[in-house]
């Protein structure tokens, strides 16, 4: 007998759908392993069409050429793990240059202008920053953490404001009318940035939105008029970006009643982490929520969940992306990246996931319309998330990925590696092109 399991997922007892090895829709048939980090790589940020920067717990920022897999630059400076990284494109007239702003646990923000030279070393006066936000139209940037700081284009601190929460600011987004929203624990604080006549900046608190029952994990802009937030308890709230009102409230909740066997094993109440909204992405029409190890696609138009998969990964989903209206991608602590397609539910097929979710729709938070109705089973237009491919390569949790369209996909992981996934057919074609070019240069063989 064989003592080892064959097959991609045969060894696991989880009910995760197993696609197997036949993946005709998966075009990533070539990979390059990019080495350089010495610790967990947590962040990937796209600089332009072919460059990307990675940052991790080793305090290193590495700039990669995605087309060739070459390491272009190695930016050192931080002594501790990097907590946030973002790009800052500042254009003055014709020239525009991209800087990288990093925040680290060593309480220093650094700016790498042109991604090459460290020019500014900014002490944040003992405040730990966890997130960064750039307002490029104003050429200012914010760092949020224990306090909210505003910096100008010359990287001078303009103003800062203490906040009262213990956890500090965990997320920052830009809102219309020079407003920004900051997520602090269970609240969303709206600040307004005012530029006075002598061009000094000041920040004023406008409103505190405290509708979430639990800690806010994700805060995103949906489009010009909406933003969304997700909490640890699985609440997804769509907000109006102008007047900061709740437009929709969804509470994603698992009901384990159907699966008795599992219910016996598990506790009656689902663990909070299983319904925690880890990550939110949107393309303006759909919101993709990573809930525990599951995925939910929420339509802005219909204000309903159009597709979901309760267990999309073996472990928590860490990052997601909507590639198009029907394709999406997710990565997880289980070390895999999965590609999904939103498909019409086949008539004969049953829902692959035994889970349910309850959905409450609110016009207004104070207008509760009766008991929640379970709409899942009998919603006719619900579609299914079908796994179209998975990328297995990392031996640790995949922290993040960045897509470069046809140039490929970069994933970073706790195993200190980055993997560059590429379309093998396209790469082969490119190599052939290079071959015949070289052939021509050499004048024949």
């Amino acid at each position: 007998k064989t003592d080892w399991a064959l097959g991609g997922c045969g060894g696991h007892k989880s009910p995760v759908l197993c696609i197997g090895e036949e993946q005709p829709k998966n075009c990533f048939t070539e990979l390059q392993v990019l080495k350089g980090h010495f610790d967990i790589v947590r962040f990937l940020v796209q600089i332009d069409d072919f460059r990307c920067a990675s940052a991790g717990d080793d305090g290193l920022v590495l700039v990669w050429n995605v087309e060739t897999g070459e390491r272009l630059q190695e930016l050192r400076g931080h002594s501790q793990q990097i907590t946030a990284i973002t790009t800052f494109t500042c254009s003055n007239g014709l020239m525009s240059h991209t800087s990288l702003i990093t925040a680290s646990s060593d309480r220093i923000c650094m700016v790498f202008i042109s991604c090459a030279h460290r020019v500014a070393c900014l002490s944040l006066s003992l405040s730990l920053s966890q997130c960064l936000l750039v307002l490029e139209r104003l050429c200012v940037w914010f760092s949020g953490g224990e306090e909210l700081c505003v910096w100008d284009r010359d990287f001078q601190l303009q103003c800062h404001r203490q906040n009262h929460s213990d956890t500090g600011i965990t997320a920052l987004i830009e809102l219309p009318k020079n407003c920004i929203a900051a997520a602090m624990d269970k609240e969303i604080m709206i600040y307004r940035l005012t530029v006075s006549t002598d061009s000094t900046l000041s920040v004023a608190e406008m409103r505190c939105l405290s509708d979430h029952q639990d800690q806010i994990r994700a805060l995103i802009n949906v489009n010009d008029g909406l933003f969304a937030s997700g909490s640890h308890a699985g609440e997804l709230i769509i907000w109006d970006a102008i007047d900061w009102n709740i437009l929709a409230y969804e509470h994603i909740l698992w009901e384990e009643s159907q699966t008795c066997a599992q219910a016996e094993i598990r506790l009656a109440a689902p663990k909070p982490s299983e319904m925690s909204i880890q990550h939110l992405t949107t393309n303006g029409k759909l919101i993709l929520a990573a809930v525990g190890s599951g995925l939910y696609v929420y339509s802005i138009l219909t204000k309903t969940v159009v597709a979901y998969r309760k267990v999309a990964h073996d472990s928590n989903v860490l990052h997601t992306m909507l590639l198009s209206d029907s394709e999406l991608m997710s990565c997880s602590e289980d070390g895999s990246v999965r590609m999904w397609e939103i498909q019409e539910l086949p008539l004969t097929a049953e829902p692959a996931s035994p889970g349910f979710f309850g959905m409450w729709t609110f016009g207004r938070p104070n207008k509760q319309t009766g008991p929640p109705t379970k709409k899942v089973v009998d919603v006719p237009n619900i579609r299914t998330l079908e796994l179209t491919g998975d990328l297995i390569g990392h031996s640790g949790a995949v922290q993040m990925f960045a897509s470069f369209k046809e140039n490929g996909l970069v994933t970073c992981s706790t195993d200190h590696l980055l993997i560059l996934w590429k379309n093998g057919a396209r790469q082969s074609c490119l190599r052939s092109l290079a071959l015949f070019q070289k052939l021509e240069e050499n004048g024949g063989l």
Binding site: W4, L6, G7, S395, S428
Partner: protein
């Protein structure tokens, strides 16, 4: 691999020699000349030879004892069997046309060095069954008659045709060796000359001093018999100095002469270096033209000038720079007695002494290499040459399945690479710091006795040209067939049947015998070395000379240190550096080249071979064993079954001969032989030992995987193919670039299997970098990218479970061959391309045959991959309107319809093509910043069971 039977069979007899250009026929240079072999039993002629294999013989025409053999290569008495080397030496030296001419040319007062080009002769002795290519050359020896010693190097073979057909290459290689030897000889000669000059100058100074003393003693002594004798002696020494200086000039301008010999290619760098050194040397001697630097006048000048000299001036600086070099080989000038040596009194220098050590070693290496490369019969040589020529043309795809072509192959095939005996890295150093030559103080400008001008260059060159033998190039360029005809006509006479040179004995100019010159030279063996007593005697004579004496002594020491002349010191440096390498060899040769006592010079003939050869042979035997096992020479002559052959034929080689397919007597031993050879090689992990041979893996990061190991692996591969019905799937995995993991608990078995399957890994790397023979820890994605074939230890422990986890995790990238349970998990393969190399009902029974069969198939695959890769329209759109799907369709059409490959077979070609592309695009420097790509595809695997 080209030499495998499949390919050879394509050469049709009809096509050979026809002129109509058939586009599908093999170029003529790659076809085998079937005609010469077809007419008669190819071994008939060699049957009565008294030696069993070809060898190289170096003989000398000694002026004392006549022709005598010096050494053979390989240096083993068994090599020539009962063959009479002395007699054969007589034969081959007797055809030497070049009488060593001697003495003074008319119109010049000095003895001349004869510049003689080498000559090449083929000689046959049908009675002995021996045929030889003979390369005559002359070396310079200051003590020899006419300063020349005639030598010859002969390649002796029982096969006349072999020599005839290989004439060009033999000539090339022997020319190379000869040039090397002569270059070393010139250095040694110059060194000898300079020592002699030093001796002479010292003697001269001593004589002058004595004369001066006599003069001071009073006029009454001036005309005494003693004084006259002294004066004569002085005059003789002076004459001798001029003569030697002229000789030095002659040897220095050796390089300036136009060479008539087209084969005389020398390393340009060496040449220029030698030239510059010689010029520097000549300059020195021109400056030192005053041989009377030890005179009172000179010394007095020295008294005045020495402080300033010491203070500054380039000379002092130079001395400091090269002090270390000088000190190492100091030479104390010796007083030369005026008595001449008798011709038969002296001991002639051995060949080794005639040539500078590094050059001698290099020559011997060249000759050994020549001997190795000509092993085997004509058919084998031809096949191998074709093989190499073809492979050279396929450089782009060679990396896929071919073993690495050694560097020594580069210079084959007509173009002679200038051979450089000395490593030029070291030489560069010496070029930068030329050691100055200081023989004494430099009172040049005050020198009253300017030596007479050397001969004007015009007469010198004309003389050179005169004395040169005119080489008729037509002979050299004549085609092998002509040569064959020519020899066949005259072979019955067993006389020298073929000569590339016109015999030019008539050109030798009789010159005045050098004996007279030598009689005037002081005896080098004189023990009249300068000693303290002598100096103190002088000291007492005149107190004013105190300073002089000490200065003179200093000079004696320093000068001695400095004497070692640049171009020789260079070599002594090199010698030191090469000491380690040459130690063993020189030890052997010192055995061989025992200094010969003058008394027993008549006994020399037997001496060299009977006394010292066996001992040396045992050394050389090992080394030749070692070397032949590396170079994989098949020496499969009909006599190969004679017992004494075994020392040369490495045991297992019999199974590797291309003739193995023929029913040669070797075949009688059949599989048993090949099995034992495959199994009992202790250096090889195919041995049955289990678990203990970890360190001895030929694969992995050990060393270069040799052809021999690969051939042995062929045996295991054959067994694998016959044993496992799913072998074809395993081979397909390897060839299509899917990493194959061989899982097993038994290390020896896994390693054996891995070594066998490594034959099918495309582009395994020079040292098998793409193969990991034994891995006992979980692998990662990086490992998968790096290795295409992995032997994995199956363990039942926590480590094992994590290993199994990695196996299942990466199962989409790998195929798993379970050696214990005999299962294979891989994507299904239904193609036909590999059916002929993975047929478990194959009739091939021998590993080497199977290896050649596989090589032949893989060669075809590589050719297809080449075609596919470099066909433009299969990869790129022809016009801008074409989309990628059109190209894709065209590619598929090409693969399926023109090459007849199915889906899975196409994957092989696509993978090979990808490798070829990557290899071609690879920057020569090897950009390490870019990680290599790892390609795969998503297909379902199935489990095959036995």
């Amino acid at each position: 691999m080209i030499g495998s039977p499949d390919v050879v069979a394509f050469t049709k007899e009809d096509e050979f020699g026809q002129n109509n250009p058939d586009p599908w026929s093999i170029p003529e240079e790659f076809s085998i000349p079937l005609h010469p072999l077809a007419d008669s039993n190819p071994w008939a002629k060699t049957s009565y030879a008294k030696f069993t294999k070809d060898f190289i013989l170096i003989s000398e025409f000694s002026e004392q004892v006549g022709p005598q053999p010096l050494l053979t290569i390989p240096d083993d008495p068994k090599v020539c069997g009962t063959f009479d080397l002395n007699y054969f030496s007589l034969r081959i030296m007797s055809v030497d046309y070049q009488a060593s001419f001697v003495g003074h040319p008319p119109g010049s007062g000095y003895p001349r060095l004869s510049f003689v080009e080498d000559s090449r002769v083929v000689l046959g002795d049908s009675k002995e069954g021996a045929f030889a290519y003979i390369h005559h050359l002359t070396l310079y020896d200051l003590e020899a008659r006419g300063f020349v010693r005639p030598f010859c190097m002969a390649y002796v073979s029982a096969d006349e045709r072999k020599i005839m057909l290989q004439f060009q290459e033999l000539s090339l290689r022997f020319s190379q060796a000869s040039e090397c030897l002569k270059a070393g000889n010139r250095r040694a000669f110059a060194k000898e000359l300079q020592r002699k000059l030093q001796d002479l100058e010292y003697t001269h100074s001593v004589l002058q001093r004595e004369e001066g003393l006599q003069r001071e003693a009073g006029p009454q002594c001036m005309y005494s018999a003693h004084a006259v004798e002294k004066a004569n002696e002085l005059a003789n020494v002076e004459k001798s100095i001029y003569e030697h200086r002229d000789l030095l000039r002659q040897i220095s301008c050796y390089h300036c002469r136009p060479r008539r010999d087209p084969h005389a290619v020398t390393c340009q760098k060496c040449m220029t270096q030698c030239l510059s050194e010689c010029e520097a040397l000549l300059d020195k001697y021109a400056k030192l033209a005053n041989p009377f630097s030890y005179t009172d006048k000179g010394r007095k000048r020295e008294d005045v000038q020495s402080p300033t000299d010491d203070g500054g001036g380039g000379k002092g600086a130079e001395e400091d720079e090269d002090e270390g070099i000088k000190r190492r080989s100091s030479y104390t000038p010796q007083l030369i007695k005026a008595r001449s040596a008798k011709c038969f009194d002296k001991r002639l220098k051995t060949l080794q002494e005639l040539c500078d050590e590094p050059f001698y070693e290099a020559t011997m290496e060249l000759l050994k290499e020549t001997e190795r490369s000509f092993r085997g019969d004509l058919c084998y040589l031809h096949t191998r040459r074709m093989d190499k020529a073809l492979r050279r043309r396929q450089r782009i795809t060679n990396f896929l399945f071919e073993e690495d072509l050694g560097d020594e192959d580069e210079d084959e095939g007509g173009m002679l690479r200038p051979f450089c005996a000395v490593n030029h890295d070291l030489d560069n150093y010496t070029i930068l710091n030329p050691p100055p030559i200081v023989l004494g103080p430099e009172p040049v400008e005050l020198d009253p006795l300017e030596p007479p001008d050397p001969l004007d260059p015009a007469s010198e060159t004309s003389h050179t040209q005169e004395s040169e033998l005119v080489l008729e190039e037509g002979n050299l360029d004549s085609s092998p067939s002509d040569q064959t005809l020519e020899t066949q006509e005259s072979s019955e006479e067993t006389k020298g049947s073929f000569s590339s040179d016109k015999s030019g004995t008539g050109l030798a100019e009789k010159q005045q015998s050098l004996a007279s010159v030598r009689s005037e030279l002081p005896d080098p063996d004189s023990d009249l070395t300068p000693d303290a007593d002598h100096n103190t005697d002088l000291e007492r004579e005149s107190s004013s000379e105190d300073m002089d004496i000490t200065a003179g002594e200093d000079e004696g020491d320093n000068g001695g240190d400095q004497t070692p002349v640049s171009l020789l010191e260079v070599v002594s440096e090199l010698e030191a550096s090469m000491e380690d390498n040459c130690e063993r060899r020189s030890g052997i040769e010192s055995d061989l080249l025992v200094p010969i006592d003058t008394a027993c010079c008549m006994a020399q003939e037997g001496f060299l071979y009977e006394a010292s050869a066996p001992e040396a042979a045992s050394h050389l035997d090992q080394s030749s064993h070692h070397q032949s096992s590396q170079t994989l020479v098949v020496n499969q002559e009909p006599q190969s079954l004679l017992p004494l052959q075994n020392d040369y034929a490495v045991g297992s080689l019999c199974s590797e001969s291309p003739a193995a397919g023929l029913e040669l007597p070797v075949g009688l031993l059949g599989d048993a032989v090949s099995r034992t050879t495959a199994e009992d090689g202790s250096d090889y992990t195919m041995s049955a030992s289990t678990g203990s041979d970890r360190a001895a893996s030929p694969l992995g990061y050990g060393g270069v995987v040799t052809l021999r190991q690969r051939k042995r692996a062929g045996h295991v591969a054959l067994r694998f193919v016959r044993q496992y019905p799913f072998a074809i799937q395993a081979l397909w995995c390897l060839l299509s670039g899917r990493t194959l993991v061989v899982l097993g608990a038994d290390e020896g078995r896994v390693r054996r299997l891995v070594a066998a399957l490594a034959l099918f890994v495309p582009g395994p790397g020079k040292c098998g970098e793409r193969v990991q023979a034994w891995l006992s820890c979980p692998f990662t994605l990086t490992d998968l990218k790096r290795w295409k074939l992995i032997g994995l230890q199956r363990v039942a422990s926590p480590v094992g479970s994590s290993m199994l986890y990695s196996l299942s995790r990466y199962s989409r990238y790998i195929s798993i061959l379970d050696a214990d349970q005999k299962t294979l998990r891989c994507p299904p393969y239904r193609g036909q391309l590999l059916a002929n190399i993975a047929d478990h009902r194959t009739y091939i029974r021998r590993g080497s045959t199977y290896f050649l069969h596989v090589q032949s198939t893989l060669c075809r695959l590589a050719a297809k991959a080449f075609l596919f890769t470099f066909t433009h329209h299969l990869h790129l759109p022809v016009s801008s309107t074409e989309g990628p799907e059109v190209v894709e369709g065209r590619r598929r059409c090409f693969l399926q319809e023109q090459l007849g490959l199915g889906e899975e077979d196409s994957q092989i070609l696509l993978y090979l093509s990808q490798l070829v592309t990557q290899q071609y695009l690879q920057p020569p420097a090897g950009n390490s910043a870019v990680a290599p790509c790892f390609s795969f595809n998503y297909t379902t695997s199935v489990l095959y069971k036995i």
